[in-house]
Amino acid sequence: MSRIKLLLLQVLVAVVCVLAWHVLTAVPHGNPFLPPFFFSTPYDVALQIYKWFADGSIWRHLAITLTEATFAFIVGSLGGIAVGFWFALQPTAAAVLDPYVKMFNSLPRIVLAPIFTLWFGLGMLSKIALGFTLVFFIVFFNVYQGVKEVSPTVLANARMLGMNERQLMQHVYWPSALSWMFSSLHTSVGFAVVGAVVGEYLGSSAGLGYIILQAEGIFDIAGVFAGMFVLAAFVLVIDAFVTWVERRLLVWRPAAAETRT
């Protein structure tokens, strides 16, 4: 399928959905299937989005959510890489701490949000902390796997070529771990955004989660939907960026593996 055709079909899905939404909130006249009070209308939502961008008020919220997600991603990745390497190269530490890692990972992060607010306040820090707990584990598991799953033959070859421990790290473990980490980039970046938005939703004074919460507070359904659409578009843009980065970082992968993400 050509790119143009694919894009057209993707747009078609959106058009059909919006059209159905419009029809269901408009007919029968006077008493529609979907009452606009609960479901809003495409027109109202579009108008709300237009207003936000026209008066520029949305940019501040987008910038804040983006900043929180970015920091959560960076700090979570650094932590995940560090601990992943540590566990893979120190099997004793890994064995001892394994149940605790599983315990923390199985904890629903949402219960942590109030605690983080208590500890770090209503500002960005508590959202970054929430995003961190999500990103950290994904990166950690992938790096751990990446270091452990290095082909024994490649490792033996590296040793026979004369690599010392530091060079093995640089030329073998590190690229292998990074390739695993990059193959989960979509998930970890997505979770960084989720952490930021959920954190904002549960208590903040700015960000996309905050404007959705505000709209809900006054039963402004158009505002809620508009917030969700802006969030969706925001995630799509970030995802496209991640795909672009990935293409450049994983050129050495066979095509089959590239599309597997």
Binding site: S151, A156, N157, R159, M160, H171, S176, W252
Partner: protein, 281 residues
């Protein structure tokens, strides 16, 4: 027969310090259920400096295992390995090892894969790449430098592996079925290429193959291993053919046929005997 071959090898070995000498090497694997699998049993083999020795044996007899021991990647259960007269502990740094399975770094380009051996030894990157490029040209891959390994055919990858090993100029070359997955024509081309590269500075080579014809055409000595378990060396032949050789032409030589017939008769009966032992024990 086997004892005679071992004694002969032993006598040669004592005369000059061989490039590599395995003495009474026994290799046993502990299996998951706690039992022990005896793969190679009290095997001795020596390779003189500048000598090209080929091991031929049925699949699973322990050829790769023996090369791993020679490379110092695996410690034998008993016996010793000597490299230029010194006993080997740890990795055999004097040898280059061309592995049977994929061993290139998939995240490095072809030229980086070849240059890495020099780079980690401290050579400047530009110089390492320059020499890698020359070597790539020697193995007929001059224009493949910027590719990644997954973009190469099996035979091309083997040639990159060869360049990767040769760039460090090791004194001993261990090669595990380097032409295994290739078709007959390509094998001949690769064989001639290998002989060509080898004749420049005559390293000691320990080469593994399934193919008896290839073994005779390439080597100075052909060593036959029996089928496992407890595989042993069952015969050791000198190849009296002149060098330089052309793999395709040498196969037409009557002396080649004579030797091939002789080795094959022993190989056949010994291998059958080996199978009989397996069934009996």
């Amino acid at each position: 027969m086997a004892d005679g071959a071992t004694a002969e090898a032993g006598a040669r070995e004592s005369a000059v310090a061989a490039a590599m000498a395995l003495r009474d090497v026994t290799i046993a694997f502990r299996l998951g259920d706690g039992s022990v699998y005896n793969a190679v049993d009290r095997t001795s083999l020596s390779v003189a400096d500048g000598e090209f020795v080929t091991i031929v044996g049925p699949t699973g007899c322990g050829k790769t295992t023996l090369l791993n021991v020679a490379a110092g990647l695996f410690r034998p259960s008993s016996g010793s390995v000597n490299i230029f007269g010194a006993e080997l502990f740890g990795l055999n740094r004097q040898s280059g090892y061309l592995f049977q399975s994929e061993a290139l770094f998939p995240w490095k380009t072809v030229i980086e894969n070849v240059a890495i051996g020099l780079e980690i030894a401290g050579t400047a990157r530009s110089e390492a790449c320059e020499r890698a490029q020359k070597l790539l040209a020697r193995v007929g891959l001059a224009s493949f430098g910027p590719r990644y390994p997954h973009m190469l055919s099996g035979g091309q990858r083997k040639r990159v592996g060869l360049a990767q090993v040769l760039i460090r100029d090791p004194k001993i070359l261990l090669m595990d079925e380097p032409f295994g997955p290739l078709d007959a024509q390509t094998r001949q081309i690769m064989g001639n290429l290998l002989l060509d590269l080898w004749s420049a500075d005559r390293k000691a080579v320990l080469f593994v193959t399934h193919d008896l014809e290839e073994a005779i055409a390439l080597s100075d000595r052909v060593v036959i291993m029996s089928a496992g378990p407890a595989a042993r060396i069952m015969g050791d032949w000198r190849v009296p053919l002149v060098r330089p050789r052309d793999i395709a032409e040498i196969k037409l030589d009557p002396a080649f046929h004579e030797l091939h017939r002789e080795i094959w008769q022993t190989l056949k009966s010994e291998v059958l005997k080996g199978y009989a032992q397996t069934d009996g024990g």
